[in-house]
């Protein structure tokens, strides 16, 4: 933490500041410490058995997708709610807030700047949660493989459940991706969120390697 403090990228509003309380005493406020929970995430217990199978089925049949388009692929998501594709039949719905979403579609290239927001949002979603990488950009960088500003491999930063290849994959491919994801969840393999927590340090190292302007707690609850 201390090293970060000396970091030249620390935002002014996150600097430690001294404030005069109404009674005249001076309070020291460290925004990153005081305003954010410092707790580290813990993996949840993965149970086995018919009850859990039933719950897995429910989790699979009710996929709530966060409405967050990260790249050009986000234009492929709106057709899903049109009559032609109609993802609602498969129990897939859109939500506007990460607190209520389970599926995060990384739709295409991911710039470093967006990656930071993606990490924050991902960490705010409740577990079990799933990540779908859309398009070749999330797999190996795609046509932006040599860009100074977009990451190459999504799975170094977030645990990815399903990749959908293509540049861009069409909405049908997305539906296929949902089907694959459902399959995985029903098989009891939908606990990548735990992987993220278990390999937390590795993920954080990777993330912090590209995000110099970190300015947030290690885990965004």
């Amino acid at each position: 933490m201390e090293e970060e403090r000396k970091d030249k990228f620390l935002a002014p509003e996150n600097e430690i500041r001294q404030v005069a309380a109404p009674d005249g005493s001076i309070i020291e406020v460290d925004p990153l410490e005081d305003y954010f929970t410092q707790e580290r995430p813990k993996p949840y217990k993965v149970r086995k058995g018919p009850v859990e199978n039933f719950l897995n089925w429910a989790r699979a049949e009710s996929l709530w997708v966060l409405g967050f388009g990260t790249g050009c692929g986000s234009i492929e998501i709106p057709p899903l709610v049109t009559p032609r594709y109609d993802m609602f039949r498969f129990g897939v719905q859109m939500r506007a807030t990460p607190r209520q979403s389970n599926v995060f579609i990384i739709s295409g290239y991911l710039s470093v700047k967006t990656l930071k927001r993606v990490i924050r949002t991902y960490e705010q979603m409740p577990s079990p949660k799933y990540v779908m990488g859309l398009g070749s950009c999330t797999i190996n960088g795609g046509m932006y493989f040599d860009s100074y500003n977009t990451i190459n491999r999504l799975d170094h930063y977030l645990p990815v459940d399903v990749y959908i290849a293509g540049c861009m994959p069409r909405p049908e491919a997305l539906l296929a991706g949902f089907a694959k994801l459902k399959e995985l969840i029903k098989e009891g393999k939908g606990h990548k969120a735990n992987e993220y927590v278990e390999n937390f340090d590795w993920y954080k190292d990777n993330q912090k390697k590209v995000i110099n302007d970190w300015n947030m707690p290690d885990y965004n609850w």
Binding site: K116, I139, G141, N152, R153, I211
Partner: protein
């Protein structure tokens, strides 16, 4: 238009006029006289709109070329003022007092080329990059591929093809010479 060019040439020592098409002229001007020329164009000649401010990295000549593209809405004519500035000492007078939007262009140039505009508001703030820690990325001596490979965990096994060769093989796998045949390829 011609009078304007004449005036620019006479008063500000502009040179090297290029007429791209009727109503679009590029002209080069010395760094020290650039801002006064821009002011002159805005206030006297009616070039009241700054269409854009951009830069080109002429690494071979060791200069940056700044282009102030000005538009005259009355005459529907445009003048591009080119200013060559030293690449080593990349600094230019700020023009934010003339148009408020110049401030944004200048922040972009500062971030992407490292050209400084002392006195321009918020010049040191991030423009689109957050926490950039390297050479300004639009400078031609910045190797973006190397940077990406060092930072972004390239996935191994990636292949690169020359598009021309690749297409030749894909489209005319039997007779590659067809590629040069006018009959099949009107471009040739």
């Amino acid at each position: 238009m011609q009078d304007t060019i004449k005036n620019l040439t006479e008063r500000f020592g502009a040179s090297n006029m290029i007429e791209k098409k009727p109503g679009l002229i590029f002209i080069t001007i010395e760094q020290s006289k650039a801002i006064s020329a821009v002011t002159y164009l805005r206030d006297i000649e009616g070039y009241t709109v700054l269409t854009l401010l951009t830069a080109v990295d002429w690494i071979e000549d060791n200069v940056f070329q700044l282009t102030y593209l000005l538009n005259n809405p009355e005459q529907i004519t445009e003048i591009g003022l080119r200013v060559m500035i030293d690449r080593e000492k990349a600094e230019m007078e700020s023009a934010h007092h003339l148009w408020p939007n110049v401030e944004v262009y200048q922040r972009e140039l500062k971030e992407m080329y490292g050209i400084n505009f002392p006195g321009s508001p918020r010049i040191d703030e991030n423009f689109i990059l957050e926490g950039w820690n390297d050479k300004p990325p639009y400078r031609r001596d910045f190797d973006t591929k190397e940077y990406a490979e060092n930072n972004f965990f390239p996935r191994p096994g990636r292949k690169t093809n020359d598009p021309a060769e690749y297409m030749k093989q894909k489209m005319y796998p039997n007779n590659p010479s067809d590629y040069t045949n006018k009959k099949y390829n009107p471009n040739r």
